[in-house]
Amino acid sequence: MEIDKEKCVGCGNCHAVCTMGVIYLDEDGKSVVNQEECVECRTCYRVLRNEGYRPWFVRAVRKILGVFRLGYLAEPDVCPTGALTPPPLQWPRSIRATFSDPSTVHEGTGVHGRGTDEIKSNEVTGRLREGDVGFVVELGRPGIGARFRDIQKVSMALAQAQVQFEPENPVTQLMTDTKTGRIREDVLDEKVLSAIIELKTRMENIGQVLRVLEEVQHQVDTVISVGIASKCAADGSVVHESLVRQAGYKLSPNGKTNLGLGRPLFQER
């Protein structure tokens, strides 16, 4: 994101809205974006309504109020002068928007933003079958962001654990080799709001995947949100629950449930 300095009046509303907290007031009293840390999520541009005031008018009002020791207080969800300007993005920077802005559709997956199907369409795709377990390992979330160099550390560690990376996943599609989990060189320094490594393995391998995550989590400078999924047994029970608990981990009371209403149903042989 860029801020038009001709228009900016330094109200600071975009500072709070910024998902990465990387907009600040420059020495000239106008806001500026730290381009190195911005993930191009465009939240500031979408959320802050352009009030359409002329910059000279807002500045004059502020000056007059200042004389009387009064502050200029814009509504928190506006940009008084429409100073936020999304620039055209070139590769590899454009990957920041692909992974950080949920209103963009990823070309490879057809899903909005960094998303993947996970279990959300499992009844029609058979992505996770009986005996399979899926992991979603999301780096950068909540609210910290991640560089692909860190994401690669985790994907390369997981590749050692007899896992199969999900082909229709945005991170897998950046891998040069799914056997090693290596990610293409030109994106490694790019920062995104978050990215999801998605994989499946067999139920008996749950402990091994968790052990790998346990070790690699200390090698990255970001947070990781981990999820685990599987197809339910005929009575609706969840097979992975007891295996995760046996491995010494706690499961959340809440989560995602696929109701199985999609058609045509995937038929397991």
Binding site: A16, V17, S121, N122, V220, I224, V238, L251, G262
Partner: protein
């Protein structure tokens, strides 16, 4: 998209937070799904969701969003979501969706045992389940737990920690009501999975120092 998987909070608070969303798969049930997704949205709308929207067009709490226009413009594969603040509404929505037999994939995020009970009551067994295993890695970089309770209601991470802090402060100073502040937070969440009703309750609590 794991966007509704990691919602934080105690069980009592999560009892008022269920996200129902439609999904389709390429080459399976995505093609021609537009009318079915629109019907999904109309069914959800009948049961008074506290939020509703799709990732491409936004949600009802954003400026200039007309829900009927939003629904009419939904095409194949639109990522549609609606949030419900009580079990009774969720039960009715699930029953209506089963009756409608749309053939698109329907998922619910929320307390798993409560959702399972709704399924059983409606005469179906759940197909697949996903749990959160929590946050790993550099957890020392995370903010306080109560900030995360609000932040994780937008799984795409569009509601910044700083905005949440600012809204708590604005409610504390009575510059904004908790309702108005929660609406501002909901504007940030593009897909409509954010629960402004729960956010309002949390802001009321947090602004009084109860975390």
């Amino acid at each position: 998209m794991t966007n509704t998987l990691h919602r934080q909070g105690d069980v009592e608070s999560l009892k008022g937070d269920f996200v129902v969303f439609a999904h389709t798969a390429k080459s399976r049930n995505r093609e021609g799904s537009g009318p079915k997704i629109r019907e999904f949205m109309r069914i959800c709308l009948r049961h008074n969701p506290v939020n509703i929207g799709d990732a491409k067009q936004g949600n009802v709490h954003q400026d200039d969003i007309d829900i009927n226009k939003l629904i009419s413009q939904q095409g194949d594969g639109a990522a549609a979501a609606a949030v419900f603040a009580d079990m009774e509404s969720l039960q009715k929505v699930i029953e209506d969706l089963i009756r409608a037999d749309l053939g698109i994939c329907i998922n619910v995020s929320g307390l798993l045992e409560e959702v399972r009970a709704c399924c059983v009551k409606a005469g179906i067994q759940r197909h697949s389940v996903e749990h959160s295993l929590g946050f790993w890695g550099a957890k020392d970089r995370l903010p306080e737990r109560h900030i995360l309770e609000i932040h994780t209601m937008c799984g795409h991470g569009m509601v910044s920690f700083n905005l949440i802090r600012k809204m708590i402060e604005q409610v504390k100073l009575r510059r904004l009501s908790a309702k108005k502040a929660s609406k501002i937070l909901a504007k940030c969440c593009e897909c409509g999975a954010f629960n402004p009703k729960r956010a309002e309750q949390l802001l009321e609590r947090f602004s009084k120092g109860i975390t």
